[in-house]
């Protein structure tokens, strides 16, 4: 049988990517499928499985704690993604100007992103320690804003705020890096042209900088959204009382009455939500 060159090339191509497809299939597709499969079973610790249909999903969707976790996750996502992007953008604009020691400052800004999570978390916990922490010392003893000491991380109502703040602080350098690399490639002529058209600094930002940054910002927010929807260690280490969906899943799967089938169903729902979110985002915002 004679194959055209294009057909042969495509066959060859498939052969080249076959190993990676195999590895990805084994490491990613199989666990996802197995997870979906598990979510229809009552899994005993002994490994016995009992098919229970959609019972896990029914239980999940009638669980008030699940909706609580979902709301927490949305707040966490919005807070961290928007926060770190805006701070990253502001810092990038600042660092794009020329001033003495700029290179040193640029390097220092990256530190939170490079520091190991666990050491930074301990630092933050010490800052917010209710008895010895610098935060309470400032607020209560020095500035006298509050008359009583609070454990911001311990209190379930304020812990989410601290966790969001932590994530913004830790991850804005990434946004900054991506944004500034784009900023530096914007042609100066465009600004000059805009200035001739009568645009002030704000006008130049809105009409030149923002449109140029659109896709970088869009991609950045998409990536951060995916990462943060699945973020576990930052939240759990700093404040295990903040129940975002991954932590809710962890408690269901690994503590108390271990319920792997139920935990699998949470992951499936989370996966589905994420997939939908990405689909619309890619279609509407990134317009791919």
């Amino acid at each position: 049988m004679d194959l055209s060159i294009a057909q042969r090339e495509s066959r060859l191509g498939w052969r080249f990517i076959a190993p990676s497809v195999g590895v990805i299939g084994l490491l990613i597709i199989y666990p996802i499928l197995y997870n979906i499969y598990l979510s229809f079973f009552d899994v005993k610790l002994t490994g016995d499985k009992l098919f229970i249909g959609l019972a896990n999903y029914q239980r999940l969707l009638s669980d008030a704690a699940f909706y609580g976790a979902a709301i927490t996750t949305v707040l966490y996502l919005v807070g961290t993604v928007v926060g770190s992007t805006i701070i990253g953008l502001m810092v990038a604009l600042l660092m794009n100007m020329t001033f003495p020691f700029r290179n040193l400052v640029r390097t220092l800004i990256l530190l939170p992103y490079f520091a190991p999570v666990i050491s930074v978390v301990f630092g933050w916990q010490f800052i917010f320690d209710p008895v010895n922490g610098i935060y309470n010392h400032l607020v209560v003893d020095v500035l006298k804003i509050s008359s009583s000491r609070h454990s911001l991380i311990g209190n379930p109502n304020s812990a989410l705020g601290v966790v969001i703040l932590f994530d913004i602080w830790k991850h804005f350098p990434l946004s900054y890096m991506l944004i500034i690399s784009k900023l530096q490639s914007i042609n100066k002529d465009q600004y000059e042209a805009a200035a001739m058209d009568g645009c002030g600094p704000i006008g130049r930002f809105v009409h030149v900088t923002l449109p140029e940054l659109y896709f970088v910002l869009g991609t950045l927010m998409l990536l951060r959204m995916i990462w943060n929807l699945n973020k576990f260690e930052d939240v759990f280490l700093l404040a295990p009382n903040v129940e975002t969906l991954p932590i809710f899943t962890y408690y269901a799967a690994f503590t108390g009455i271990i319920d792997q089938g139920f935990a699998a169903s949470i992951s499936v729902v989370q996966f589905g939500v994420l997939a939908l979110l990405i689909y619309f985002y890619v279609k509407k915002v990134l317009k791919w």
Binding site: K44, L45, P130, V131, N132, S147, S148, R149, H150, S151, I153, G154, N155, P156, N241, T255, G256, I257
Partner: protein, 448 residues
């Protein structure tokens, strides 16, 4: 080359020959740290010199690995002669029928049933309270450590009853001065359960009745949870665990729950704080660091509501069932050796404060009080004996009227009680709702 081989074979045969006359036993210990292993090996070397023909090999086994290792050894027909581990572990092995309960009961009586602290002995009691699946060897006691000087100034009674504890917690709780009444566990962690169990036992509240029925949601337990929730209001702000004992070392806390392992830290803190007086650092102001913390600290190891109760952990020595009478004899000889005062004290001094004697009369001995770190001398004989007396009253949810319920161990592992405490003290759930939830969870664990 051939000559070499011959020599090796000769040595091996001789080795086998001599060991055929000797008895080999294994001693499994959960003290796996190198320095502790060295001390135990030294004791075993001494034992072997004194008992010709007995060889003891020391095998370190992590507490968590003990069950699987025992299962493997049992399958291989190579069980150790003697093991050292937590009382819960011994109860579990006792249930499986691999322990030499008869010999151990005889040995307890030989050493003197009344010489053991009664609470400690209860932790290893099986079969209607007459037999033992281990010999308590060392352990720690939990108590409320408190500022005796502060109590004296306010004329308060020691924190040994519910009323006294609450009264003192209220009296010393001055959050505006960054000073707090008491430290109780409120994070969903084991420490919270340890504090709570102490109160529950003092109120006669049980997890199981004598028939093994789960009765967690009972009026006495509910009363304990209510009291605990109320008392937790005098905690430092936010959820807390044992780490907050630092606040005590800083003079910001009047009372805190801790095991005897704190004795070391207290004495060290004293040394550290000794130089931080306002004489050396005038800017510190009066009373920021207490240079005499050990002298001003006392402990209440027993809490009373309807009955006196202590809480702690017991590590026991236990004989594993052996077919060979020689091995049995050798292991029993080793136990007797380990209980001899000099041996015993050397063993306990591996962790002064953390490892406390389980038989009377050791704590008062000059040799015991003269530990290598000089720790006990700082406290003095009276305080040490007072601390250890808590061992008479210790209990746990696992043992009810001489019967043990391993399900309690499973419940402990799932941290149901800590999560119940977190719910009432931090999330504001009512004690009634929280205890109902907890019992439901426990039932599910049992049914699993």
């Amino acid at each position: 080359m051939i000559r070499y081989l011959f020599l090796v074979i000769l040595c091996l045969t001789l080795g086998i020959h001599t060991s055929a006359n000797a008895t080999d036993i294994e001693f499994w210990t959960t003290q796996t740290q190198t320095d502790r292993m060295k001390t135990i090996q030294l004791l075993l070397d001494t034992f072997q010199v004194l008992n010709e023909g007995i060889t003891v090999s020391l095998v370190p086994v992590e507490e968590n690995d003990m069950p699987s290792q025992m299962a493997a050894a049992s399958a291989a027909g190579n069980l150790p002669g003697l093991i050292e581990g937590s009382s819960e572990l011994m109860l579990a092995f006792g249930e499986e029928g691999i322990m030499d309960i008869g010999s151990m009961t005889r040995m307890v009586n030989e050493i003197g049933k009344d010489r053991f602290f009664q609470g400690a002995l209860k932790m290893v009691t099986v079969k209607d309270g007459k037999q033992y699946c281990g010999l308590p060897y060392h352990g720690w006691v939990q108590g409320i450590w408190y500022r005796e000087d502060w109590f004296a100034k306010k004329g308060l009674e020691p924190p040994n009853t519910w009323d006294n504890i609450l009264k003192a917690a209220k009296a010393f709780h001055q959050p505006e001065k960054n000073q707090y009444g008491i430290l109780l566990g409120t994070k969903p962690e084991a420490y919270s359960e340890q504090c709570f169990t102490h109160f529950a036992l003092s109120n006669g509240a049980a997890e199981f009745d004598a028939d093994g029925n789960l009765i967690f949601n009972n009026p006495k337990m509910l009363e304990t949870l209510r009291f605990y929730t109320e008392l937790a209001k005098y905690n430092p702000p936010g959820p807390q665990n044992w780490r907050a004992r630092d606040y005590y070392l800083q003079g910001k806390l009047a009372m805190f729950f801790y095991s005897t392992y704190i004795m070391d830290d207290l004495a060290l803190a004293e040394v550290a704080a000794g130089s931080l007086t306002d004489e050396n650092f005038p800017q510190l102001g009066q009373g920021v660091f207490d240079p005499r913390l050990v002298d001003n600290t006392r402990v209440a190891p027993v809490i009373t509501k309807t009955r006196p109760a202590g809480y702690g952990a017991v590590v026991a020595l236990a004989l594993v069932d052996q077919k060979s009478a020689d091995k049995k004899n050798a292991a029993q000889k080793l136990i007797k050796f380990l209980y001899q005062p000099d041996t015993y004290i050397t063993f306990l001094h591996m962790a002064p404060g953390g490892m406390n004697p389980m038989v009377r009369g050791i704590a008062g001995k000059a040799g015991y009080l003269n530990d290598p770190k000089g720790l006990f001398n700082r406290y003095g004989r009276d305080k040490i004996e007072e601390i250890i007396s808590g061992l008479d009253a210790i209990g746990s949810f696992t043992i009810v009227e001489g019967k043990s319920f391993p399900a309690a161990g499973k419940i402990y592992a799932k941290q149901i009680i800590p999560r119940m405490i977190y719910a009432t003290t931090i999330e504001g759930t009512t004690p009634e709702r929280a205890i109902t939830w907890a019992e439901k969870q426990m039932q599910a664990v049992i049914n699993e």
